[in-house]
């Protein structure tokens, strides 16, 4: 720790931030007279109330606070916070999401407007806010933006609209819309029977959308949909049939402690693409590993950890490096190696495999009754699956052999009596798999 925190903060931000590198800024002063622009972070005792985060690079992020103000924060490589400053003090009526645009512009959305904020005079403060989109179908009848914005790899800006009918008499459907900056056109890219509460987009076009179904209290729906890349004519009508966001996975309420999870975020972990959902009240961090089988998306759902502070939002700052934010500021969401937990669930030909973060107690794990596997049919009803456990040599993988049910069910695996070989108790003893195809 430096004896002069003020100095180290300033230097850290100046040297480390591409945000203020002159060569990244259009119309920057000519070489020879170039001046590196920077925010001088002074010691700041205030804790930001974070509602959305978008990474700038591996150590800087933009964030949105609960008042709708945009801030910029800097972190050390281990995601310890160095400091933060406002990038705009204007209190936008913003949904809890923001996206990075070019030139360090920031995209936000209220239920009624998609807005892009610019720092036009390059004084490191947003000073121009352009209303990109204010008109869409049935806006005057109450159709609003429910989630977004998200910038996709094709330069489009995506946001979700509440259910509406395109033609009189059609059933109302929620739609994910793409705004095309080159023309200002607005095109639907997916439809959904259920409103979209939040969504994330992987670079290859895989969309993860949280769907709203308040009357269903046993779980929460997550839809996985592949968005096709726009064709040569980006303004061409959406493909027919339009991709439909089906409720691909059910996140059981018992995994979230009945706390509604926030919007999803994709991240990399151990060479796999995963999805994280944070639960602000219960502090549960839910991990999903999406898998495609038979043209359908399914996957495992497990508890990754519990955050030390309430977390409303999360982002992947750099590959595998997760940062959360909430009322008590920023929270690094690293995977704690000391936590004994289930880390994976994979289907195999005759059963399934469970992975653990630490070797299990072999004798306890092989006892009858240490595991139970149930198949809950999506159409109703449940059955117990008979399994025979076997332990892989390193003690971190357990093979549960048995006849799995046909597709169309949720597998619930409970490891009720499986301590680690050092006697640690599992963080959570249950893990789930939504099975649509084999």
């Amino acid at each position: 720790m430096s004896e002069h925190p003020f100095i180290s903060l300033v230097l850290g931000f100046v040297l480390g931030s591409p945000l203020f590198a002159a060569e990244t800024i259009p119309a920057a002063p000519a070489p020879g007279s170039r001046e590196r622009r920077y925010i001088e972070i002074t010691p700041n005792e205030q804790v930001p109330t974070v509602r959305a985060i978008t990474p700038i690079d591996g150590s800087n992020v933009f964030f949105l606070n609960h008042r709708g103000q945009v801030g910029v924060a800097k972190f050390s490589p281990g995601l310890s916070q160095i400091g933060w400053e406002f990038y705009s003090e204007v209190k936008l009526n913003a949904l809890p999401s923001l996206a990075l645009g070019p030139g360090y512009s920031v995209l936000t959305a209220s239920p009624f407007e998609l807005t892009q904020g610019f720092d036009t005079d390059q004084d490191v403060e947003l000073d121009f806010f352009q209303a990109l989109v204010r008109e869409w179908t049935d806006r005057e009848k109450g159709v609003v933006i429910t989630a977004g914005p998200v910038a996709d790899p094709h330069g489009r800006v995506l946001f979700a609209l509440s259910p509406h009918a395109l033609e009189a008499g059609d059933p109302p459907k929620a739609r994910l819309m793409a705004w095309l900056p080159a023309s200002g056109a607005l095109l639907p890219v997916t439809e959904s029977e259920l409103p979209i509460e939040g969504f994330a987009l992987r670079r290859d076009g895989l969309l993860a959308a949280r769907l709203s179904m308040p009357e269903y209290t046993d779980g929460y729906f997550l839809s996985l949909t592949e968005l096709p890349a726009p064709g040569a004519d980006p303004e061409a009508a959406a493909p027919s049939p339009m991709p439909f966001t089906l409720p691909s996975l059910i996140i059981p309420a018992e995994l979230t402690a009945r706390d509604r999870p926030d919007q999803p975020v994709f991240f990399e972990d151990g060479g796999r693409s995963k999805i994280l959902l944070v639960c602000p009240v219960s502090r549960h961090l839910v991990e999903i590993v999406p898998e495609k089988a038979g043209g359908l998306w399914q996957g495992s759902i497990l508890l990754r950890g519990r955050s030390t502070k309430p977390v409303h939002t999360a982002t992947e700052v750099s590959p595998g490096s997760l940062l959360g934010g909430g009322d008590e500021g920023f929270v690094p969401l690293g995977d704690d190696p000391d936590t004994f937990r289930i880390t994976s669930l994979s289907l195999i030909d005759q059963g399934l495999t469970l992975g653990f973060s630490q070797p299990v107690d072999r004798r306890e794990a092989l006892k009858p009754g240490s595991f139970s596997v149930k198949a809950i049919a999506l159409g109703g009803g449940e059955e117990t699956v008979a399994i025979r456990p076997a332990i892989e040599s390193d003690g971190k993988y357990l093979v549960l052999r048995g006849e799995l049910p046909p597709p169309g069910s949720v597998l619930r695996i409970v490891c009720q009596k499986v301590p680690s070989e050092k006697g640690a108790k599992l963080l959570n003893d249950s893990v789930f798999y939504t099975l649509h195809a084999r």
Binding site: N93, L107, E113, Q130, D152, P181, A182, S183
Partner: protein, 266 residues
């Protein structure tokens, strides 16, 4: 060596290209205009700017027209700009839907009484007390409420509904950018003179016929203008002066607003 992210490598690069090419007519490509010279000794307040949803407080039928819904009801106000200051007792509201100054709220006044059943919203003025057969109710806490159609609707070149484009900050003062017909308008609002005056600056491009700016009739004679000639509640600004006209609304420092004084022209 710090990692450098070039804007072209960022997702959404086209957003910027599109913004410049497709619509940023009033945007950052043009440097913000200089802060106007003010006609009085000026102590601008540091402003707090937010956007918020409000219950629709307008009463005037024409001012409510942009908010009229198909079922006959009136839409609430969404994403309204609220301009205030910790040093002022006033909150000023401007709406992008109707592109106009909607109201000035006295933050120290008691809340507005709910409108009595059957009176509707067709009061004649915004700031007057509502008189019913049950007797007077609490006066409106709004010192100013928009009345009549879009304030620049009578200007040559203005037509149809105004279209909001965005806003920018000029020395922390919000400047709203919108179009009406062939007019491109910049409208700036700030609290001045220690919070005793609301200034409203209009600048119009392509105003070959000048500007006609309407103010609510109950403000006739109280609003002063840096240029132009008043005819009743309408200010006529010649085309030579359309690049900048500043209206000044006196705000009482204490107690409620005084009754309108004798109209004056300048």
């Amino acid at each position: 060596m710090p990692t450098v992210v070039h804007p072209t490598s960022l997702p959404g690069f086209l957003v910027f290209l599109g913004a410049c090419g497709a619509g940023m007519m009033n945007a950052q490509v043009t440097p913000p205009p200089p802060t106007p010279a003010l006609v009085v000794s000026s102590v601008p307040l540091r402003l707090d700017l937010s956007r918020r949803d409000l219950r629709n407080f307008l009463n005037d039928k024409e001012a409510l027209a942009p908010y009229q819904l198909a079922d006959g009801s009136v839409a609430d106000l969404h994403d309204v700009f609220a301009i205030g200051s910790v040093s002022a007792r006033w909150a000023v509201f401007w709406d992008a839907r109707s592109c106009r100054l909607l109201g000035i709220l006295d933050l120290e006044a008691p809340p507005e009484s709910p409108l009595p059943a059957g009176t509707g919203r067709e009061e004649k003025t915004g700031s007057a007390a509502v008189e019913t057969d049950k007797g007077p109710v609490v006066p409106s806490p709004y010192l100013f409420k928009a009345t009549g159609p879009f304030p620049l609707a009578k200007s040559v070149g203005a037509s149809g509904d105004p279209r909001y484009f965005g806003f920018r900050l000029v020395k922390n003062v919000p400047e709203f950018l919108y179009t009406s017909g062939s007019l491109s308008i910049e409208e700036r609002l700030w609290l001045d003179d220690g919070g005793k005056v609301l200034r409203q600056r209009f600048a119009a491009r392509d105003a070959s016929g000048g500007m006609l700016i309407s103010v609510p009739e109950d403000w006739q004679g109280r609003v002063t203008a840096s240029v132009g000639t008043w005819k009743g509640a309408v200010l006529a600004v010649p085309k030579e002066s359309a690049a900048e006209v500043i209206l000044s609304y006196p705000l009482p420092a204490a107690s409620r607003a005084a009754e309108p004084s004798t109209p004056e022209t300048n």
